[in-house]
């Protein structure tokens, strides 16, 4: 890794990273703030209980709403979170490599004694640092929000943090395959297209797989299966094993990306 390049790129992307992070916090606060009006609505819970099981799962409710954790897990982390994090991963991964190759400025980074491997490691580190920052800011923001807006939350903070850890690790994998496309394919548009396609496909499989037990096998084909916020937020699921699996997958994909980038022909 090259320190100078790392801090330059981090600074250059800080605007994007911080707007995602603070956007996420504001959304979370909005959800936490409106929660009491939901919680006291008997009608909503009755409605939820009357829905088919599959639809419940698609909406992210495996256990119904009994406290704030269910609400955040079902409403926020099952949809908004996935969308925001996916957009970050796809766009920033494409910007950090494919964009620089497409517009030719990669030539300058490589016209220094910093090797291709180091440049690629640095860019990957910037991408992952952004994810960590967004994850950290939103976790802390959510905990503060719950503390400030609700008198009695009944939320297990440790489990909430663990859920966020798995969420960030899931998107480390998403970001790393986006980085793989960004490093290896011929141009920026292809990279962006492929990253979006694969992510939407994973999300689609996740949705359909949860819809009915008949399609349940589909959910085994998607990465998003690793992240079940409603269970994680209650301390259920295989936190350690899943985290480790996601981490190893990230490392493997990044190593392949960097090795591929090192060998590729660059039309600069």
């Amino acid at each position: 890794m090259n320190r100078v390049l790392y801090f330059y790129e981090l600074k250059a992307n800080m605007k994007t990273i911080s707007s995602y992070a603070f956007g996420m916090v504001l959304y979370l606060w909005l959800f936490i703030w409106i929660y009491p009006s939901f919680a006291h609505s008997q009608a909503l819970n009755t409605l939820l209980q009357q829905m088919p099981q599959g639809l419940m799962r698609v909406l992210g409710y495996t256990v119904g709403i009994t406290h704030i954790a269910d609400f955040l897990g079902g409403e926020f982390y099952s949809l908004f979170y996935l969308v925001i994090m996916s957009i970050y991963a796809i766009f920033v991964a494409t910007k950090l490599v494919a964009h620089l190759i497409d517009n030719g400025s990669m030539a300058y980074l490589l016209a220094t004694p910093v090797s291709r491997t180091k440049v690629a490691i640095t860019q990957a580190a910037v991408l992952m640092s952004g994810l960590l920052i967004i994850g950290l800011v939103s976790t802390v923001g959510a905990l503060l929000g719950v503390h400030w807006f609700l008198q009695q939350s009944g939320m297990n903070n440790i489990d909430f943090v663990k859920m966020n850890v798995v969420g960030v690790l899931l998107f480390c994998v998403v970001a790393s395959y986006c980085f793989l496309f960004s490093s290896l394919v011929r141009d920026e548009r292809t990279a962006l297209g492929l990253s979006t396609f694969v992510t939407v496909l994973f999300y689609g499989l996740h949705t359909v797989g949860n819809l009915s037990t008949k399609f349940n096998w589909l959910s085994h084909l998607t990465l998003f299966n690793f992240f079940d916020p409603q269970n994680l937020i209650h301390g259920k699921g295989h936190f350690a094993l899943d985290s480790l699996t996601l981490l190893i997958a990230t490392v493997i994909i990044l190593v392949v990306s960097i090795a591929g980038f090192r060998k590729r022909q660059l039309p600069l």
């Binding site: 090259n2 100078v4 390049l5 330059y8 250059a12 620089l100 517009n103 030719g104 400025s105 030539a107 300058y108 980074l109 490589l110 016209a111 220094t112 004694p113 910093v114 090797s115 291709r116 180091k118 060998k263 022909q265 660059l266 039309p267 600069l268």
Partner: protein, 294 residues
């Protein structure tokens, strides 16, 4: 210093570079001439380690440009043909980034170059004209006083005054002992600063020549404007090579023998005299015409 050995790379549908072998000695200024699409940039991409050869190799300072790229770059300055910088930064931030990545501490040379080229470094790069960007690129390529400079069409975008400054800079670097490889499609600038010239066409090296000997065989076309028909007739019959004629203006081709030409002119009433700069294609034509290329 720079060595190409049977460098071959097919880029797409039969185009590319084929069997390029030549070398540039230490302290030499080498001009690399060819029309657009001849393979100049492809050759340079191999020197920079952006492309790997299909066969053959490029070495700079004895180091393989593909396998030891980072090491090669320590002593290399590069000016790309198409300049595009990272987004959203100003000239100084860019130069700082480059200096940082090079671990360059001594910024005297950089500041002197900025002054020399009258560069306003605080301007955001996206607001810069092509010429200004070119200047930023020049400063980035020269600021660390590299042993080897690889310049891809370095004067494009510069106004005549800055082109002049640039050619002076090349001479300065040459006196410092730097080895310079520059590509161009403008013969006159190469003629002025280079020791030797390689001419490439369709990916093949046509010839490598001393600039001096190239100059000797080079033909020049003079356009002479004549006042009266009597002088025009005597000029026409003087045995000079007439290549064109437009009412009162005559194009005369001269190859080496200027004395006779001057003597004939001295007897006539001349009201204008122009030298027509030959472009690269015309120099090639000359080369093919003389059969020296084969």
């Amino acid at each position: 210093m720079i060595e190409l050995q049977e460098l071959t790379k097919e880029v797409s549908n039969g185009r590319g570079i084929f069997d390029l072998t030549f070398s540039v000695g230490e302290g030499e200024v080498f001009g690399y001439l060819g029309p657009n699409g001849a393979g100049k940039s492809t050759t340079i991409r191999h020197m920079m380690g952006f492309l790997s050869p299909d066969s053959g190799l490029v070495r700079i300072n004895g180091l393989n440009c593909w396998t030891q790229t980072a090491k090669v770059q320590e002593q290399l300055g590069y000016l790309p043909g198409e300049i595009s910088f990272l987004d959203n930064m100003n000239g100084l931030e860019f130069l700082d980034l480059m200096a940082g990545m090079r671990k360059l501490r001594d910024l005297h040379r950089r500041n002197k170059l900025i002054e020399q080229f009258e560069l306003e470094v605080k301007t955001p790069i996206r607001k810069m004209s092509k010429g200004m960007k070119q200047k930023v690129g020049i400063v980035a390529a020269f600021m660390h006083q590299p042993q080897v400079l690889v310049l891809d069409e370095p004067t494009s975008g510069l106004d005549p005054l800055m082109q002049q400054r640039f050619l002076e800079l090349i001479e300065e670097e040459k006196n410092r002992g730097a080895t310079i490889f520059m590509s161009s499609h403008i013969f006159s600038e190469v003629e002025r600063v280079c020791d030797r010239v390689g001419i490439v066409k369709d990916g093949k090296l046509i010839t490598v020549e001393d600039v001096k000997s190239l100059r000797q065989v080079q033909r020049k076309v003079f356009t002479v404007g004549i006042g009266n028909t009597q002088d025009e007739a005597s000029l026409m019959s003087a045995g000079l090579q007439i290549v064109g004629r437009r009412g009162g203006e005559i194009d005369i081709e001269i190859k080496g023998d200027y004395n006779e030409f001057i003597q004939v002119l001295a007897r006539c009433n001349i009201h204008s005299l122009d030298i027509h700069q030959l472009n690269l294609e015309e120099i090639f034509m000359h080369y093919y015409g003389n059969g020296e290329a084969h």
